[in-house]
């Protein structure tokens, strides 16, 4: 037992270094995806088919194909077809693939939250003379934040775990590093601290989102 603890302690620096990659990939991708997903959601809701159709197609494309293939496509296939798109850095490729993919899922979450707001709110706003845009910006969207926080948190945790697929492009994230240690040191024990680190990250994100949800429910 003591020996096991010592060995785990010895792996920790390498594991924590890999954790930085996992956490960065998750946080940055989800942040970029939030912005992109917001515009996609607004696009999907739009009554102008020139806006809603492309937005829907985007969401369909990125939800309808595996993330793994999207990642490989961006890292290997795209540069082969168009050399200007060679991202060279696997981390960069992962950022792009995850941002684009997660944006499609967040777009659906954001759209559902916006459309769940009672239609009496839009009617009241319009009857007071607000334009459709003002009503969305001042009345509908602010109310939708609270409703999208729990599913966004869910998505966050999913992305955190999905990042483990970056092993395929040899990006040394937490999962990849762990399996490397397991193989070279021929000890499966390393999966224990790795799982613990994933749990700590999940718990951290969940606490943050619970706090956000409270902050946005002040008026209830």
């Amino acid at each position: 037992m003591e020996d096991a603890l010592l060995r785990i302690a010895g792996w920790m620096p390498a594991l924590l270094q890999a954790t930085v990659i996992t956490a960065k990939l998750t946080v940055i991708s989800v942040s970029v995806a939030l912005v992109l997903g917001f515009f996609l959601a607004i696009g999907k809701i739009s009554s102008n088919p020139l806006i809603s159709k492309p937005a829907s197609a985007y969401v369909f494309l990125f939800r309808g194909t595996p993330l793994l293939i999207q990642l490989l496509f961006i890292y290997y296939v795209l540069p082969e077809l168009f050399p200007v798109f060679d991202l060279k850095d696997p981390l960069m490729a992962a950022y792009v693939a995850f941002s684009l993919n997660v944006a499609a899922y967040l777009a659906e979450i954001i759209r559902a939250a916006i459309q769940s707001i009672d239609k009496g709110q839009m009617e009241a706003a319009r009857s007071l003379g607000l334009t459709h845009g003002q009503a969305m910006r001042l009345v509908i969207i602010p109310q939708s934040y609270r409703r999208m926080i729990p599913p966004i948190c869910n998505e966050f945790v999913m992305v955190l775990k999905d990042t483990s697929i970056v092993a395929i492009i040899s990006l040394p994230d937490l999962a990849f590093k762990t399996s490397q240690i397991a193989a070279t040191k021929s000890s499966q024990l390393v999966y224990l601290p790795a799982a613990a680190i994933y749990l700590v990250l999940t718990a951290g994100f969940t606490i943050l989102f619970n706090w956000l949800e409270k902050k946005f429910s002040l008026y209830e």
Partner: protein
Amino acid sequence: MAIIRAVNIHKKFATVEAVRNVSLTVEQGEVIAVVGPSGSGKSTFLRCINGLETITDGEIYIDEELLEKRTHGRAHVHLSKEDRTRILLKTGMVFQRFNLFPHKTALENVMLAPVNVKNESRVAAAQKARSLLEKVGLGDKLGEYPARLSGGQQQRVAIARALAMEPEIMLFDEPTSALDPELVEDVLHVMIDLAKSGMTMLVVTHEMGFAREAADRVVFMAEGEVVEVAPPEVFFKSPESPRAQQFMRSILQQG
């Protein structure tokens, strides 16, 4: 001068004709109670007047300005967005379910449109909002969110919110139907005060007390049509049409 002139209004939804050939003129300062069984097109008619629904046929004038003229859904007037908004702002609407903005305090609910639509300064808008909320008896609830107000208080905020845009006419769609019985009085009291102050009002309501005390005319609708128009004392005592007589019997049984 007529504030509202609705001429031969029809409103068809996919399968139902909710409003059939309704004509109604509301003179300045008049208070009109619209009564009738559920599904008779009262809400739809009101919503057509303030632009939440588009009529299929007919003409609507607000303050003698043509807002809408259609035959078989085809429009004969094409107003700019600005003109349409300007004309529609002469109507203020109060909904059955209040529809207050839950993320805004009472004061912010009342200020929102003056600041964002009329570009009033926040200071001036807040001052006006405060005095309107005082007028409806909520001077001590300015900073409260709707969730912390009773239904009657919420509806009074909603009335103040509509009044803040200084409409020529107030439209009410069953403003007390969603309220617990003990909260109805406070809202009716505000509405009666408003009527006495000279506001033009078109009120869909089943509150006979309000109609008797404040209304100049009662309009009875059934199956999308206006069946009878009479002064309240006449209508409630001896309605002419069989359908109105039947409606009065059902109301009296419930009450």
